[in-house]
Symmetry: C2
Subunit: 350 residues, 2 copies
DNA sequence: AATAGAATTGTTCCCGGGAACGGTTTGTTA
DNA sequence: TAACAAACCGTTCCCGGGAACAATTCTATT
């Protein structure tokens, strides 16, 4: 296509009869360049269609204006989170690299992170959920060695790391208070895998809310799922098999709630009359469940945006960037979406 | 941390008492290096912890071993597709950049693609669905100008572009044949937005299958949705309001099928006895719909993998890479997942 | 022992930009 | 009018690697 490959800074300089440094100054907008020189150079740039090479810049600045999100190879990460992070990064002049990890043991993590430093990645968004031993590597000296800002998503806070998470305790409490305010007293809980930090937080909120309301939270009212709809079916079946006579279930995510609904229908239970069901996440589908699901909304897109914005601040700080009176970043908040799967206790004998 | 920033090729060369070119040869594995020299250099590399700089390589090779996926800023793209593409890219030694586009008009597309050439991106995965005027830019000379291999996902085939898609005609026919084989004769269709190529393909398959079976496909049996669950609710309501007396619905995706089920329940229809419902996609949730949804499975992950693999072949070819007797890539195939939302026509008068 | 030829290893230059620093102008102050 | 500071522009060198080409071995023949 193009006659002789790519147009370089020097080509522009030659065509404009100035030194390449002057062209560089015009391009980067640094230092002073006489107005007429500027315009002339700009014109030549436009005429030649010159575009600066990002990799050359990366080479001499030691920074790439690129971030990496690291997620599990298989897993539940929502597209919205990726989209939010990507959009925010782009808006702030960064690109986003997508990395997946099959098995997050310390060795693989080390390989991955070293690879990222090879590419002069400026920062990392760690989107692998805090569960099992997936965060063990934090205790190694890896973080210090790679010397790149990392922001952890939905990870238990600990010293020395930056996390960006929803306050699940708060969100789950919202769900519980809703059920309690409807007059429900015997509230069961279908949790995510207890190896997950977020699942444990929600369980904790379930216990706390019941306790604060002077209600019981017996272990038999708790069933553990694995976030999938079928696990929700199973968990609901377990609860019912215990013949506990509960009048509400707080389910730790909408997907499992879907399964719980199916089991309830199959057992002839009426939702919400016999059992009120509340979910968590507010996925797109939940509005059309049968019946439409009451749930707590978590804006995943916003989560991604906030994480990216936070990371970029850290990156900028690291490169001595201006501490430009950064306005505080917004917090992530939940909201209750009341639909038909919850309702007040019907008058007894109904 | 590190005493004096990063260790370079020359540092290794100095420490090993060889020229940097020798070190380079060892690192890249190119040409012949005497065995003992190799081992010595390798040892020094390990001792110093040397790691080649990706950006320096990009600079001198003019290729970055990085691909970009371009998707819509908001949209329906599934995580699995991204994961599949990312995983496959990594397996073949490439990285994947995630780009989103808010409004895919020709100008934005041009900006985006030029930005990608600035970074020496090797290839592009175009994951913006073929709908409305989003593909108009292909007709400009942009593709030729940027001179980067592009693979289009789920886009209508046309001269001069490479596409990787499921054969929706085939998949939809699978659904239709299933319904017909169950004795269903009056089959309605809830389509995606007709501006979408994939939606039109499925409509076409609906018509063709009915025609081949000697059945009618009147326009009144067609309702258009927008892929969302609520649009499925509305579309089902429209169909029912026409009092058409259909005995099955083929819904163009599982999400809308969920909505269709909800409307059916609300109107007192029994699924599958009164109306059989079949979906498309086989999302994780559909196994726990009420009732569990019969559907046609599309493996999105595999779609991402195949797209990435295809793109990488084109990239390799473009860089004069070995035409290494490339084994043919697998095709994308659908499969029918029979569940409870479809069943044979019950004996009349049931 | 001389010499072609293969196997190794070294030198130079370039990839595309930009920081550091040096040299001119031009205008201002004493 | 000399002295001096801005404002503007140019030269040199470095970022980290690798291709092209040159130079030096070593080996096998005649």
């Amino acid at each position: 296509m193009s006659p002789t490959s790519r147009i370089r800074l020097v080509d522009v300089a030659a065509a404009a009869n100035v030194s390449k440094q002057t062209v560089s100054r015009v391009v980067t907008g640094s230092a002073d360049v006489a107005e007429h020189t500027r315009e002339h150079v700009l014109a030549v740039i436009a005429r030649l269609g010159y575009r600066p090479s990002a990799s050359a810049r990366t080479l001499c600045h030691g920074r790439s204006y690129t971030l990496a999100v690291v997620g599990l190879d298989f897993g539940f990460l929502s597209t919205e989170l990726y989209q939010g992070a990507a959009q925010q990064a782009q808006a702030l002049g960064y690109s986003l690299l997508l990395k997946t990890l099959a098995k997050p043991d310390t060795t693989s993590v080390e390989q991955l992170l070293l690879g990222l430093t090879d590419m002069h990645i400026d920062g990392v968004l760690w989107a692998i959920p805090d569960a099992y031993d997936r965060c063990d590597w934090i205790n190694s000296n890896l973080l210090a060695r790679i010397n790149i800002p990392v922001v952890f998503l939905s990870t238990a806070p600990r010293a020395g790391i930056v996390t960006v998470s929803f306050d699940n305790l708060d969100g789950a409490r919202l769900a519980m208070q809703h059920l309690i305010s409807l007059g429900r007293r015997r509230i069961a809980h279908i949790s995510g895998p207890l190896a997950w930090w977020v699942a444990r937080e929600r369980v904790r909120a379930w216990r706390l809310a019941l306790q604060e309301a002077g209600l019981e939270a017996p272990e038999s009212y708790l069933a553990e799922g694995d976030w999938t709809p079928v696990s929700g079916e199973r968990a609901m079946a377990q609860l019912l098999d215990r013949s506990l006579d509960f009048d509400a279930v707080f389910v730790s995510n909408d997907r499992m709630a879907l399964g719980a609904l199916l089991t309830a229908h199959r057992r002839g239970l009426r939702i919400p009359q016999d059992v009120a069901v509340i979910g968590f996440d507010n996925i797109l589908e939940s509005a059309s469940f049968y019946p439409p699901l009451t749930t707590v909304s978590q804006n995943k897109r916003q989560h991604g945006e906030l994480a990216a914005a936070t990371l970029i601040r850290n990156v900028a700080a690291r490169f001595g960037g201006a501490a430009n009176a950064s306005s505080p970043l917004p917090a992530l908040t939940h909201s209750l979406i009341a639909r038909e799967s919850t309702a007040p206790i019907p008058p007894s004998g109904a």
